[in-house]
Symmetry: C2
Subunit: 360 residues, 2 copies
């Protein structure tokens, strides 16, 4: 048996990814010019497959970044002149607020207790804030942000831009793009691809904001200024020589997911989530970190252990199965388990059996 | 025969790169955590091999970016408070000046005629400029910047920072890091790797400049602020989940180059450059674009054609050999041929024979 990675990212490659990479090498994809037709076709296929898979409206632009970290920076640079509002539910969502602070913006931050999500009434966005940031799935704590709260925020604040961190959430969580303005993700989590590529989806409201800021003399970046990125993406080009191999592999994996069907993928996620929940609840020494089951992520399970969590991690490692440690200060008292499209039912059942039989 | 890429970037993969990528897939490198020891070992190996190969002093930091484009932005953000001076010899070097303009700096730009490099006396850097930017090898025009001019600039302006674009020049051109402050390159040219990774080498003078700017309240970026990048690189970490596969492959290719030896690699480049020059000079319908032979790049040959250059390009394409078009406005009247470490003597001799026999 080869090694199994249930770590929350980087994680197991999507089960077809390796073959696509080998085919790309054989076809000389890495040697093709990023200004030529072959690359344009690859980027176009990637855009089109993601649009279908994630139901991205035609008037939203699908852009290439190097990471979700870059998307944080570009969104602040291009969509926030002065003030932004951030909902922080853990280490990853809090980084967006930090980015805005580092870029000299006035930051309003709602920080909720780890393992919880805020009530709609607690989200008090000041009139002056231009942007609201939301993390769909906080990979550090295993919380998932309610989609109806996003929709309610849109209704309450129609004039503000809403940015959503989709890392470890998409394409599993069915987000309605019409209720948000921008969403970004890196590919090494739920898409199961090698790290080093991010996708940034933006609508024309974001673009108009960037253009307005630029025309008033504000610096909005250089090679990745949003208006320039959109202009290039419309002809399937990028400013820099991008991660062509990554874009190719994403196009192909998205195609494989489409062939399988997003509904079957989501049903499998539900099944695997249920059996993972069952083993946590049945085990005398394991507990959900997220108490409210409505706010528990389906794709990243965060589990409190009554023992030093490295005991379980090492036990599984001996069987060549890798799960994640707790994040940051929770390292020794929690484990994190990914439930992504690449993890098969059989693999997850095997993992569940091993956890069930484990005692300290 | 498989396809041969003499395009100036992306180009042929280094002849060992494909095997290293396959080994990485087999070893689960793409699934390993970027916070774990396995990744730290990969980044450390990459740093150490580049230091040996390029003779990078120990007190220079080897950082990870996504591209050379990103390096332009980071250098301006972190090393230029107000004014910079740029030597532009073609489309690529001119982009550095454009980046500084977009980021709101006051830009002094010396633009020389395409196919030429400036005399030392023409380089008139104002007292107010904090940074001088130089392109070692202008891939658009095939010019190479004289190393003794870099050294003379260092002597004349010891207080200014000097930034060098090493793309398509390193590791072939033996740059003396003691006479410059920062150098960056992307890996898809002379290193022959898949695009989507840049290396940014900086000394402590750059770091001190960034720290000084930050402490005076200037914005120097977010996740890739230079002081944070250096701090993380010292423990072989990055802020974002980086292109782990790319870093692994670069470490291995640099190791292969070390095993072959940088001197034999440079001797081969000299030999291939000489036979390419010979065929250009002997052919009645081909001419060097760069007239002064001292300023002609060894690694990117730019050739004027007396005919529509697509005729030669298409002729070679029928034999599954790819060479580059002219850049930008020169597309139809020039060809560009790469002479990188991955191009073998035999492959280059075959290319030379085909060009020699070609007539319109």
């Amino acid at each position: 048996m080869s090694e199994l990675f249930f770590t929350p990212g980087p994680t197991a490659l999507y089960f077809t990814a390796e073959e696509h990479i080998k085919t790309a090498l054989k076809k000389g994809v890495c040697s093709t010019s990023h200004r030529g037709q072959q690359f344009k076709d690859i980027y176009k296929e990637c855009q089109q497959n993601l649009r279908k898979l994630m139901d991205i409206p035609e008037d939203y632009h699908v852009l290439i970044t190097s990471s979700a970290n870059e998307a944080w920076e570009r969104i602040i640079e291009n969509c926030v002149e002065k003030e932004s509002y951030h909902i922080s539910m853990g280490a990853f969502s809090a980084r967006f607020a930090k980015t805005a602070t580092q870029l000299g913006r006035t930051v309003h931050e709602l920080v909720v207790e780890d393992g919880t999500v805020p009530d709609f009434d607690a989200i008090d966005v000041p009139e002056s804030a231009e942007l609201i940031t939301i993390c769909l799935n906080e990979s550090a704590c295993g919380t998932t942000f309610p989609l109806d709260t996003i929709n309610a925020l849109r209704e309450k604040h129609p004039d503000k831009l809403i940015a959503v961190d989709g890392v470890s959430g998409v394409p599993v969580i069915p987000i309605d793009f019409r209720n948000i303005d921008t969403l970004y993700f890196s590919v090494q989590k739920a898409f199961g691809l090698p790290a080093g590529l991010g996708i940034w989806i933006v609508n024309n409201r974001c673009l108009e904001k960037a253009e307005k800021m630029a025309s008033s003399g504000k610096v909005i970046g250089s090679y990745h200024r949003l208006p320039d990125m959109v202009e290039k993406a419309q002809v399937y080009q990028t400013a820099e020589t991008p991660n062509i191999l990554g874009i190719y592999t994403l196009a192909k994996v998205a195609s494989d997911m489409l062939e399988k069907g997003i509904l079957p993928i989501r049903r499998e996620i539900d099944y695997k989530s249920a059996i993972l929940n069952q083993v946590i609840e049945a085990h005398p020494q394991l507990h959900h970190f997220v108490e409210n089951d409505k706010h528990r992520s389906k794709t990243v399970k965060v589990i409190k252990t009554d023992f030093d969590s490295s005991l379980l991690i090492d036990h599984l490692k001996q069987k060549k199965i890798h799960i994640g440690t707790g994040y940051g200060g929770y390292k020794k008292e929690q484990v994190r388990i990914a439930n992504f499209p690449t993890h098969s039912k059989e693999q997850t059942e095997m993992l569940v059996d091993l956890i069930e039989a484990f005692r300290v």
